[in-house]
Symmetry: C2
Subunit: 342 residues, 2 copies
């Protein structure tokens, strides 16, 4: 029994008689023998590993992607190497040294707007790369139609009768999450929607901040200090929307009577917070990105990874949106909290 025969038998390659295959497998099972990963890697040049690069593993969004992508990757018999960038220093380190070299067969990069050099470095790796949440001319990507989703969100506010509509966008430049940002098209889509409704854009009604509860609260506070504050706000993430709700209530506003809010994500807790939001099947996006990569790793898989897959979104109407209060109802009705009313 030469090692070559054992190798072929265990991997199910042709050229081994059924009898010896069975015998070898039985012995291997009895002995608990497994081929050494390091040795196979060296011999084949294949690591059997997919790297998942995230800005911050503590964010709900990334947890969903890691889980969705991870289960697809594991189902394909491959390992998940997790790279968390952390801060901008971590991002620099990751992209300057070729950390992934020889450690993964494919790379998934989440929610990063890549600079020219960063894209170049990823290409130099000469591995299938798929982006999630952003697109690039160089790599495949999975994302939602940000424009359409934003139009739906803002359109919902317009349909309810709102005319002063604020926008809270993501801008993490001063943040630990390494410059991760929601696609600018999300903001662009909102603007389109406002213009289509004949609502003029106002700088004071567009605020940006880091993607966190506190970032959303701060942005809402800025919106409320506008000469004429908005009656409805589209917030680029649910976490920011939670903060915005908190800030609006702290300012004595009733939601949705004095302030309507639409989020983005359909976070696990959006239902509890009774937040109207855009669902964007984040887990599904992770799985789709993994599939693109796995397909690129299949035998024929040349550039199969270089595709764009668009995931559907839909509006989930909940209790944070309603028609704006008229001046009359505003003073007539006593301020009362509403979201827990069954």
């Amino acid at each position: 029994m030469a090692t070559s025969t054992v190798s072929r038998a265990l991997r199910g390659l042709p050229g081994v008689s059924k009898a010896t295959r069975v015998r070898i497998r039985k012995i291997a099972a009895d002995l608990g023998y497994q081929a050494s990963p390091s040795a196979s890697r060296l011999a084949t040049g294949v690591t059997g590993t997919v790297a998942v690069v995230v800005p911050d593993a503590t964010k709900w969004f990334f947890g969903q992607v890691i889980s969705g992508a991870g289960s697809a990757i594991r189902a394909a018999g491959r390992d998940v190497l997790l790279y968390e960038l952390g801060d901008s220093e971590g991002r620099r380190r990751f992209f300057s040294q070729q950390v992934l070299r020889g450690r993964a067969d494919a790379v998934m990069v989440l929610s990063l707007s890549l600079t020219q050099q960063e894209a170049g470095m990823l290409q130099a790796l000469n591995l299938p790369v798929v982006l999630l949440g952003h697109s690039s001319e160089y790599f495949g990507s999975v994302r939602v139609d940000e424009r359409a989703a934003a139009r739906t969100a803002v359109g919902h506010l317009v349909d309810l009768g709102h005319r002063r509509i604020g926008l809270i966008g993501i801008d993490d430049e001063r943040e630990a999450t390494a410059g991760s940002a929601a696609p600018p098209s999300r903001v662009a889509g909102s603007r389109q929607s406002l213009l289509a409704a004949g609502i003029p854009l106002e700088d004071a009604l567009q605020q940006f901040g880091p993607n966190s509860v506190d970032g959303g609260a701060a942005a809402m506070e800025r919106l409320l200090s506008a000469p004429v504050p908005p009656t409805g706000v589209f917030v680029s993430s649910d976490e920011m929307a939670f903060g915005a709700m908190e800030a609006a209530r702290a300012a004595g506003l009733d939601i949705p009577r004095d302030m309507s809010l639409v989020g983005f994500d359909n976070h696990d807790l959006a239902r509890v917070m009774d937040l109207t939001t855009i669902d964007q099947d984040v887990r599904g996006q992770g799985a789709a990105a993994a599939e693109l990569l796995l397909r690129a790793l299949e035998p024929p898989g040349s550039g199969a990874a270089r595709q764009t897959r668009i995931i559907n979104t839909h509006l989930v109407k909940r209790g944070t949106t309603s028609a704006p209060a008229t001046a009359a109802t505003r003073s007539a009705r006593p301020s009362r909290k509403t979201r827990q009313q069954p």
Copy 2:
């Protein structure tokens, strides 16, 4: 320039003249040369990788641990291999085949109450193992003093004057999270506290369910259907507490007037939900577990991983707890939502 000299120079081993070391490093930098990980692994038997095993990467708790442990592991120049168990089938697969064999130098296992066989399999790996959130006679562990924390939580309710106190515990046996469970000692601590206050235990006031918003809501519904429902409840996780809040409000109760709630975790959103809870520095627990493992991997590191590290907890008082309403105030004051009142 023999490969052996290059190898020594690049790894900073002694026995290389300063001149050649400098020259070799310069050339390597110019060429962007890096030693092949697969080849070094095969030659040394060291993978430079730490495996982190989690039941479910989408849970807030695990995201925090992954982040805290991951950044310590990465800072030590090692890679993070992420294993998400998913469902009980995934758990079975993980523990039956020796998936980690030859893929990691150390293993961190989160929030799993290990069976005898599972512990045996981990030991057979012959690698440093550290548990997080559970302890075991066989492995090192990082956790909080569950009993003390639970006593603090329940003690807070007792101090406020509550005498009918409910308990919501975690029991994921029917759940996808692979039997992850909060330590039984958390429940035990609560019971101690009740007994110390002279409050008899009642089965109807102890409910268990999966660690999720829905699990918490369902458990609260069961508590509310008790002959005499509790006026205060200690919930074993913040996510469950969010669900419990929702269910209590849906039943027309005002929090904290009709129902006080103490959670466990100090989840990112606990502040927004104004939830009184036990903070248990989850990120710090992850970092501590990583340090235990990293220390065990150091040259002298024999059984350094086999320690128990206890992380401090503290009560964070917020708006979901107050003295129980007396019968008088209960009918006198109109039902009103309170948490947003600044």
